[in-house]
C-alpha cells in the first residue's frame, strides 16, 4: 500500500510508478480514494493448499490423457507413469481440498447439491466422475506389477476384473481429464478478486497449457525416451500455450496485471517463465538423452507449479489493495458510465 496515512478517513491515493511493474502497466496512473487504505473486497481465505491443488490437478489431468494414449498405442512405461502419476496427484489434490475447508469433517456436504452457478460444485462433480476411473486405472497398473504366481489366490477374481476394466477405465479418465484441468481457471475467475476475474478469458488456456507441460514433464521423467515421444510433444505444446497465453492474459488485464510483476508473485511468475522456457528447450533435445529428459521434465513441472502459485498470490494481493478494485471500476465508469442493465460491462466486478 503506497498510501500515506496523514489524512483522516478517506485516503486519496495515487497508484504511482512502483518497481518494474509500473513500466509494464498499460493504464495511466489515476488517483483514487479508499477508506483508510482498506481493501474493498476480501482475499480468499485459501492457503497454499489451493495453488498446490491447482498444480496437482493439472498433473493428474494431463497424466490421465497421456496414460490413455499410451495404453491405446502400446507404450506400457508411459502408461504406467501416467496412471500412477495421476493417482498420486489426484490423491494429493483430495487431501489438499479437504484440508483447506473450515470444517473438513463436512467435506461430503459438497455432494448434497448440484449447482451450475458454482464452479466449485461443478468441479466437485467433475472430480467425482474422474477420480474413481483414474484410481481404477492406477489399481490395474499396480495389479499388473504383481508377479503372475501371486494373482492365482483367493483374490483371483479381483485381479481378473482389474485386468479387464483397467484399460476402459483409463480411457474414461482420459476423456474426463480435460475438464479437471480447465475448470480450475473458472474457479479462480468467478470471484471479485481483481486479478483473477479480469484474467477469465485466457486463464483456462494458461492452466491447460500448464497441465500439459507438467504432465508431459512427468512422462519424460518416468518413461524411457523411446516411449516418451508423445509426452515430449505434449509438454512442448503445453509450454508454448502456457507462455503465449500468459502474455496475452497480462495484456488484457490492464492495471490488474500489475500484481503479476510485483513482489513475491512477480518472482514466482518470472521463475515460471524461465523454467518453462528452459524445460521447453530441453524437451527439444530430450529425445536423445534420458538425463536431459529428466532435467527438462523437472523444469517443466517446477515451472507449472510456479505459474499456479504466482497467479494465486497475485490474486490475493490484488484483493488486499483497494487500488485494483476501485481504479478499474472508476475507469470503466469514465469510459462507459455506471453499469446499467441490459448493457453488460466489459471487464470484471
Amino acid at each position: 500500500m503506497s498510501s500515506d496515512r496523514t489524512g483522516q478517513g478517506s485516503i486519496h491515493d495515487r497508484p504511482g510508478p512502483r518497481g518494474r511493474g509500473a513500466e509494464r502497466s498499460m493504464v495511466p496512473p489515476a488517483e483514487f480514494t479508499s477508506y483508510y487504505g482498506h481493501n474493498v473486497v476480501k482475499p480468499s481465505p485459501w492457503e497454499h493448499d489451493i495453488p498446490a491443488y491447482l498444480f496437482a490437478g493439472g498433473v493428474a489431468a494431463g497424466s490421465s490423457l497421456l496414460a490413455a494414449g499410451a495404453s491405446l498405442t502400446g507404450r506400457p512405461a508411459l502408461r504406467r507413469t501416467g496412471r500412477l502419476g495421476a493417482l498420486v496427484a489426484f490423491s494429493f489434490s483430495m487431501v489438499a481440498l479437504v484440508h483447506d475447508l473450515g470444517r473438513p469433517m463436512r467435506f461430503l456436504h459438497m455432494l448434497r447439491t448440484v449447482k451450475l452457478t458454482s464452479p466449485m460444485s461443478v468441479g466437485t462433480w467433475i472430480l467425482s466422475v474422474y477420480g474413481p476411473f483414474a484410481a481404477l486405472a492406477a489399481l490395474a497398473e499396480v495389479a499388473g506389477l504383481v508377479p503372475a504366481g501371486a494373482t492365482q489366490g483367493r483374490l483371483r477374481w479381483a485381479f481378473r476384473l482389474l485386468d479387464r476394466f483397467g484399460g476402459p477405465a483409463g480411457v474414461v479418465a482420459g476423456v474426463t481429464a480435460p475438464s479437471v484441468a480447465a475448470y480450475t481457471a473458472v474457479l479462480l475467475s468467478d470471484t471479485a478478486t481483481p486479478s483473477w476475474h479480469s484474467a477469465y478469458r485466457e486463464l483456462p488456456f494458461v492452466f491447460c497449457g500448464s497441465a500439459a507441460a507438467a504432465s508431459g514433464g512427468l512422462g519424460m521423467i518416468g518413461a524411457p525416451v523411446t516411449q516418451a515421444g508423445p509426452a515430449r510433444r505434449f509438454a512442448l505444446g503445453g509450454a508454448l500455450v502456457e507462455l503465449v497465453m500468459e502474455r496475452r492474459m497480462e495484456r488484457s488485464m490492464g492495471l490488474t496485471a500489475e500484481p503479476l510483476h510485483d513482489g513475491h508473485a512477480g518472482r514466482l511468475m518470472k521463475a515460471a517463465q524461465s523454467l518453462t522456457v528452459l524445460g521447453g528447450v530441453g524437451t527439444l533435445l530430450a529425445g536423445r538423452s534420458r538425463s536431459v529428459a529428466v532435467v527438462s521434465g523437472v523444469a517443466l513441472m517446477a515451472g507449472s507449479a510456479c505459474t499456479r502459485f504466482g497467479i494465486f498470490e497475485a490474486g490475493q494481493r490484488s484483493a488486499k489493495d483497494p487500488k485494483y478494485t476501485v481504479v478499474p471500476q472508476r475507469e470503466r465508469i469514465a469510459r462507459e458510465g455506471p453499469t446499467r442493465y441490459p448493457d453488460h460491462p466489459v471487464g470484471g466486478p
Binding site: A181, A182, V241
Partner: protein, 318 residues
Amino acid sequence: MFGKRNSLYGPVDPAPETGYVDAPARKGFFTDTSICIGCKACEVACKEWNDVPGEGFDQLGLSYDNTGSLNANSWRHVAFIEQPRKAAEEKAPPVELGMPALRPDGVGATDVGGAGGSDGAEAMDFRWLMSSDVCKHCTHAACLDVCPTGSLFRTEFGTVVVQDDICNGCGYCVPACPFGVIERRKGPQGSKNVGIAQKCTLCYDRLTVGETPSCAKACPTESIQFGDVEELRERAQRRVEDLHGRGVMDARLYGNDPDDGVGGTGAFFLLLDEPEVYGFPPDPVVTTADLPRMFNRATTAGVALLAGAVAAFVGSRR
C-alpha cells in the same frame, strides 16, 4: 439455471425468481448516512441479538472506528471519515437535515459529534461522515451463486442467509462478494461457528415473527430504516430529492437501482460522497454475470487440451 432470463444479471424480484410462491414483499434496509451520528448502537444490538462473538477491544487509530470492517464477527460496521471540507460546501447555506440537534450556526448536522456543542467556536474545516455498513443482500448475490453446498440460500424475504449446519467452510463466498462482506470465522477460539462463513442475516429469525431487525430497532436517529424494499426505494428517492432541494448536492443513493451490476441491493444507502470514500466499490458487478462466458472459454481450452493429447500421439512415430 442459465436458461432463465436475468437469472445471473439484471432486475428481478429475487424470492419469486428463486421459486417461492406467494412470497412476502422483499425486505431490506435503507441506511440514510446523512443522519447517522456514529453511536454504534446498531453494532452492539446486532452482536447481542445474533450472539456474534467479540474479539476484544482493538484501538485501530481510525477516527472513532475500532471495528475496522464488516467481517465474520462484525455484521454492522460504522465507518467514521474525517474529511477536509470542500470549498463549495463552505459557501453552501445552512442545511436543516432533520436532526434533533442542529446548531444555530448552521454547521451541518453530521458535524454534531465532534464539536462538543461549543457555540461560537470557529467553523470546523472538516466534516465528519458516518455510515453504518451492512451486508447488501444483493439481488444477484455472488456469495449465494458460488456456494457449493447450498448453505447460502435465498429466503422468502429476498434476503441471503448462511445455514450454519450446512456450511463446510470452503471459503468460496469470501472472494466472490464484490463488497467484501462475508468472511469465514477464524475465532475467537471456542466461539460457535468457527471455520464457517458468517454475515448479516437481516435478522431472519426476527423477520419470520414480524419483528424489525435488531440494528434498525436500536438506531436512535432512524438512519437505519427497515421495510419493504420497494417502499424504501421510493422513500430514499424522496429523501435525496429533498436534500438536493436544500442544497446538499453531494447526496446520492447507492445500491437502490435494480438495473445496476448486482441487480440492486436489498440494503442500500444514502451517501454524502463517492462510494469508495466509505469503502464501497464504485461500480460493483456480480462476478457470475460473466460465468457463461467463463465456462465457454474453459470448454474451448479443455477441448484444445484433448486435441493436443490426440495430436501428440497421432504425430509420434514409434
